[in-house]
């Protein structure tokens, strides 16, 4: 429905909250900035089901080619085979514990990779069925609930742990998604890049926190869509973290970096990311954390 001209948001998912009006957010041990990294493992199907919806112009490959687009599909597949290990090694070197959004086709078809993620103590969060099957308003509520359940079941089956966090494939939602992921028992949602602090969402049942990702430093947003230079990407990460760390002395901030193994896991990009992380992790009052830890700390903070 078009907006009605009245106070607050034009949807039911959260309340308007200007940051200067909020109580001070305190991270554990008085840290100023919570830094996390969210790795996306997104499967693109060679032959998606007839009714599936994907982005018109998904990233990867060269130009949009008639199906099967070997370049796009294999470019993305590089992440599952090579890039993810490079990224995990890098994060481990800087003691940044990884959070991994994993779709069900990845979880079920890459058991070796799932075991590897668990050995590295990654937190797995739900990420739909596949990047070639988006959750949009074109599917009905029943189907959407089934997709959410199926995705969580698959991750639980593969890893033994049921996720508490969620990122919709390609960050695309229907207008029911926050309500349905909360009803499925999830605790946090990463689809809304609109803040520097977690915030409470309003849902009919359950209890849902929004954990915003930092879109401008997202590798796909910056490097693929905006085509910024690697130097500029590095500068974005370092200066954002520095400013958030400064602001976080008054009220804690978080910064979730979104990393795609097929993109920032490429050999020519990894050294840039390494330089950025080596700078950022020098900040003195930094808390390196996974998604659910940040959300739990937000919920425990008396604010």
């Amino acid at each position: 429905m078009p907006a009605e001209r009245s106070y607050g948001m034009d949807h039911p998912h959260y309340h308007y909250s200007p940051i200067p009006e909020r109580p001070s957010l305190r991270w554990p041990d008085g840290k100023a900035l919570a830094l996390g990294a969210l790795i996306l493992l997104e499967h693109y199907e060679w032959q998606p089901p007839e009714a599936a919806y994907s982005l018109r112009n998904p990233s990867g490959g060269l130009i949009k080619l008639p199906s099967p687009d070997y370049l796009q599909l294999t470019h993305r597949e590089y992440g599952h085979r090579v890039g993810v290990f490079r990224l995990l090694d890098l994060l481990e070197r800087y003691a940044i514990p990884a959070t991994v959004a994993i779709d069900s086709l990845t979880a079920l078809n890459y058991p070796w990779l799932v075991d590897y993620l668990l050995e590295r103590r990654c937190e797995l969060i739900g990420h739909g069925i596949a990047a070639s099957r988006l959750i949009t308003s074109k599917i009905n509520a029943t189907t959407e609930s089934e997709v959410i359940e199926e995705s969580l079941d698959a991750v639980e089956q593969a890893s033994g742990v049921r996720p508490v966090g969620w990122l919709s494939p390609e960050g695309v939602e229907s207008d029911r998604t926050p309500a349905l992921v909360a009803a499925a028992g999830l605790k946090y949602l990463c689809d809304w890049p609109n803040d520097e602090q977690p915030y409470q969402m309003t849902v009919p049942s359950g209890n849902l926190v929004s954990l915003p990702l930092f879109l401008e430093a997202d590798d796909e947003f910056a490097l693929w869509h905006r085509r910024t230079s690697l130097q500029s990407w590095e500068q974005t990460i370092v200066s954002a973290a520095t400013q958030l760390h400064r602001d976080g002395e008054n009220s804690g901030r978080h910064l979730m970096l979104t990393l795609r193994p097929w993109l920032s896991g490429q050999p020519f990009r990894i050294s840039t990311l390494e330089r950025a992380l080596s700078e950022v992790t020098k900040l003195p009052n930094l808390w390196l954390a996974q998604g659910s830890e940040i959300v739990d700390a937000f919920l425990e903070c008396d604010c």
């Binding site: 078009p2 001209r5 607050g8 034009d10 949009t136 960050g171």
Partner: protein
């Protein structure tokens, strides 16, 4: 430009500088427009696009405000007027500082392009009435909502009693716009010194800072001959980001560090021009047209 009457600004300033934060609301589920889809990335809603812009109202506006306050900038806020209804804290912050509110329509997802003449007339009444109700300010000018217009826009703006239109990129000085009745001028805005197009593609903060300084240097030099206008168009959801705010501070330090700058609001520039230069510019335009007619 080279043959015009000379513009003088107050204090013999060379450049009249107006700074325009665009304070906006993009709808979650906007009405369908026959010509333009605000969220083409996915079927609506596009929560990523929506939330990116929503960041401006939750966080970015407030960080930008600190930098603008420190430099005592008198802004001309290009405002989707429904912001006063959705986010009264933002409305109050702007009103308390005495910023000029320029209409940027009601929502950034409601375009003028497909409106009928009567609908467009009602739109101006709505804008005027909304601003009056929330701030007591009289509406003086407009940047079309998401820079949309119709062929009738200048005539209907003048008929509604507005003074200036900011959608004309055709000059470095205010220019009289021909309208059926009343009076309307353009006040130059910028779609180049504007964080949206700059950051839409591969440029980033350092590039923007360099562009703004270079633009200013040229206008400041040329302004010794005849006054120039410079607009700086900003969006809280972009320039209020943590990695860009130092760039805004650098820009403000640089621009306001020059002596012969008149940091004014758009309607102050418009009023000064109308009072002192409008007639000369109209006569000059007629003289130029006469040369064309004679040849």
């Amino acid at each position: 430009m080279v043959d015009r009457p000379r513009i003088t600004w107050p204090g013999n300033a060379r450049v009249a500088l107006w700074i325009a934060p665009n304070v906006e609301h993009y709808e979650y589920l906007p009405p369908r427009d026959p010509q333009r889809n605000p969220w083409p990335r996915s079927p609506h809603p596009d929560v990523q696009g929506y939330a990116h812009r929503d960041y401006g109202n939750r966080v970015g506006f407030w960080r930008m405000l600190e930098a603008l306050d420190q430099h005592q900038v008198r802004c001309t806020a290009s405002t989707n007027l429904a912001v006063f209804e959705h986010y009264p804290d933002i409305g109050k912050a702007m009103a308390d500082r005495g910023w000029e509110i320029m209409s940027h329509g009601i929502y950034n997802t409601r375009y003028l392009s497909a409106l009928t003449e009567d609908e467009e007339r009602a739109f101006y009444s709505d804008c005027i009435e909304t601003l009056q109700r929330h701030t007591g300010q009289r509406l003086r000018g407009m940047l079309g909502p998401a820079v949309s217009n119709t062929v009738r826009t200048p005539d209907l703006m003048a008929e509604a009693g507005l003074t200036y239109h900011a959608d004309w990129l055709h000059d470095d000085q205010p220019i009289p716009i021909n309208v059926k009745q009343g009076q309307l001028i353009s006040v130059p805005y910028s779609i180049e010194l504007n964080d949206v197009p700059v950051f839409l593609q591969h440029h980033d903060t350092a590039d923007f800072v360099a562009m703004v300084k270079a633009q200013f240097d040229t206008l400041y030099a040329e302004g010794a001959e005849s006054g120039r206008v410079m607009a700086l168009a900003l969006h809280p959801y972009l320039m209020g980001m943590p990695h860009r705010i130092a760039g805004l501070e650098e820009i403000l330090d640089y621009l306001l560090g020059h002596k012969l700058v008149w940091q004014a609001t758009a309607c102050e520039i418009a009023d000064h021009f109308i009072e002192n230069h409008y007639e000369d510019f109209v006569q000059h335009a007629q003289r130029i047209k006469g040369v064309a007619d004679a040849s």
